[in-house]
Structure formats: C-alpha cells, structure tokens
Symmetry: C2
Subunit: 230 residues, 2 copies
C-alpha cells in the first residue's frame, strides 16, 4: 500500500509538530511526503493521487477548517471533472486527515467551548470522500502537541506511523505491526538483548492467538444463538 | 442596520449570478459591497467589520466549502486574536452566508447524491459565528440560478434584498418591507396606478393586522392553558 501525504501549513518551517511528523516518516517506505505551497502543479498532483492508495491531507485546523493553502490545492487539483463521474478515478482509495489543533480534545462537542464535535467540523472532507467514492478514514487528530510529554510523543509517533501504513486499524493488525518492527530491531541486536526481543515477540504472538480464539468462540456462540432464534 | 457583503468568487467577472446580486444591491442604502481578491487589506477589513451590523460571506460552494479566496480572507482578517477573548469585538453582530451552487436543492441530505444537508456542510461557518458570539443567520442558498425562470429571478431579487436589509425575517417584517417599497413606488405614480398601489398597501396592512390579532389570540389561549395546568 502506498501513502501520499499532502502537507499544508502556512508556517511549515516554524511548526515543531510538522517537523516531528516529517521525522516520523523518514524511515517509512511507500510513504510520499508532499508539501503544498502557493503554486500547485496540478498535473503532477493528479498523477500522485493516481499512484497512491491512501491519500492524507495534513494541516493545522484554522477557523474550523483547513488553511486556505489546502483549499486551494483541493479546488485546483480536484477541479470540475477530475475524479468525478463517469470515471471516478479515485474510487476505492482511502482519504485520511491528520489535523493538529492547539485546543484540548475536551473542548469539542455540544455544551463545550468549541460547540461541535470534530466529526461535525470535518464533515465537508467526509462529503468530498463520499462524493469521490473514496473510503473516509477516522481522522487522526492531534491536540496540543506542545503540551505533550516525551512519552506521549513516543506513543504519537507509533500511532502516526500506523495511520500512514497499516492496511487496517484492528487490534490484531496493530499488534502484528509492532511485532514486525520488533523483529527488525531484534536482528540488529546480539545475545541477551536479542533473546528479550524474541520473548516479547512471542508474547505478542500469544496475545494475538488468544484474541483470535476468543473472537472465534464469540462468533460460534452468536451463531448458536441465531440458530436457536431461527 | 448596516450590512457588509464580502464577495469571494475566483471568476467574478464571468459569474452571471454575482452580477445579478450586484445589480440587486445598487439601489440599497446601508449595504456595502466588498470584493475580495488575492491581496487582503487586513486593517481595512477589520474596520469594515466593526462598522457594520450584519456580515455576509457570499460565495459559490466549491468542494463543500468556500473557495480558497474566502478562507484566505477569514484566516487573515480574523487572525489569531482579533474578535476573540476577552473583547469579542464582533459579539452581537449577525453572520449570514449567501451560497450559490449548481446542484439542485433536492440532491442534499442523507441518501441523496450530496449525502449531507446544507446545514451540515456549512457547520464550520456556524462554528465561527458561535465562537465569535455572533448570531448565525439561516444561510441564503441559491440553487441552479442559471436554470431559473425570469419570475423565479424576480422573487430571488426580493428575497436577497430582504436577506441583506430586514432586521428580522418574520412574516410581518417581510410584509412591512414590501409595503414600504410599494409606498416608494406609489409616490412616483399618478392617478389610477397610484390608487392601485395604495389599495394593495392597505390590503397588506390588513393582513398584518389580522396576523397580529391571531397571534394575540393564540398567546391568550396558551396563557389560559398554562393557568389551568398550574
């Protein structure tokens, strides 16, 4: 799976958060980092869209929407007919959003200071995905990056990399993803350290097996219930 | 009441709809028509905002939002602190939207080709109004202007002028507004024509009086019910 990130930030060089994201992607293969500025190369952007499976629009939330820079990209690249009927050239691809905001997660929603949920605020993007017959991914929202601890940043890095690269976001897929990365790490270690990594990997595999067993048991129980009801 | 219209349209000169709107405002006093382009005079725009009571953002719907031109205006003019706490300099003013779309009204909503209602699509603007403690007016949406008949255009002209100038949108206020315009017309006519206009004016006044009577009766009935319940 190939992922395209369109980064739209009016003060990109000054953004610690975007720098963090950029560093997080450098070790990833099949991830294209594309910054957009005042001039948009429409033909090139359309080609990039066609070549990737997951499209990510990454931006700071300005006045309950993307900065004008991204809207310009959308207006110009999507245009009047590209990706619409009858060909729908982006159909089946995924659309994700990576949204940063200086406002706390607790402030969004009815009766709170931002009044609306992030789902409501980002609805126009969901409408675009739906119109183009793309799959709209749950938005990846980062609240108050600057106030987060180092540990939170480490967890954010993993979640962000997973958002870009995991083919699905199930518990099993996330566990498998971590296990693979541990495997890569283990190969670069010697002796006792390597044994520790292998032990953790085995434990993760046990967890996944147990989870699969439980899911199977539950599905069997449901099936029996259905049979009894019928 | 003073009304400011911020017009954002990337092809303004080619837009028949915007030309129609412009002509509709020429006879109106206390209405300021302000076109926005790539350069935004932030200080001047803020001054205009402060000097007017009703702010209208007027734009064609592009990809379920305003064109980048308007988003740029919003990002730059509202900025980071203007109109926010603690002064909230726009508090109590009204925010209206005049939105044009080539899509039919019947296509908006769940299960339809646009999937979402116009209220949902325009939610980020409602969020801005709410954040700034402004009154969000019901958006004025014009569907498929080019397909409308002359008669529909005439009705649209009246409704548009009312959206810009009426202090409230009640039936009585709209009737009063029409009556005043008839009065102006009557003064420019002679003889029989003038009598006709006066007769229509009287009829409108009768309607308003009857409406007021009915509303009064209903409120009395409710009050009696409340007394009985208590």
């Amino acid at each position: 799976m190939k992922t395209l990130i369109i980064v739209a930030h009016p003060q990109l060089d000054e953004s610690v958060t975007q720098q963090f994201f950029y560093e997080s992607t450098r070790s990833l293969v099949d991830v294209t980092w594309q910054v957009t500025g005042e001039q948009v190369d429409i033909a090139k952007m359309r080609q990039l869209l066609l070549e990737h499976d997951r499209i990510i629009w990454q931006f700071p939330l300005y006045w309950y929407s993307a900065p004008a820079l991204l809207k310009q990209w959308i207006d110009e690249v999507l245009g009047d007919t590209f990706a619409l009927a009858p060909e729908y050239v982006l159909a089946g691809k995924q659309l994700g959003l990576v949204v940063t905001t200086a406002t706390s997660a607790a402030d969004f929603g009815a009766g709170r200071s931002e009044h609306f949920t992030m789902s409501e605020i980002l609805r126009p993007f969901e409408a675009i995905a739906t119109k183009l017959k793309m799959h709209y991914l749950p938005p990846f929202v980062v609240h108050q990056f600057a106030y987060q601890t180092d540990k939170q940043h480490q967890r954010l890095l993993i979640k962000y990399q997973q958002y870009l690269t995991l083919t699905d976001f199930s518990f099993a897929a996330r566990s498998q993803w971590l296990s693979e990365r541990l495997g890569n790490l283990g190969q670069r270690l010697d002796g006792k350290d390597r044994l520790v990594v292998q032990a953790v990997q085995e434990r993760l595999q046990d967890n996944r097996d147990e989870l699969a067993d439980l899911n199977w048991t539950i599905s069997m129980m449901k099936q029996e219930e259905d049979n009894q009801d019928g």
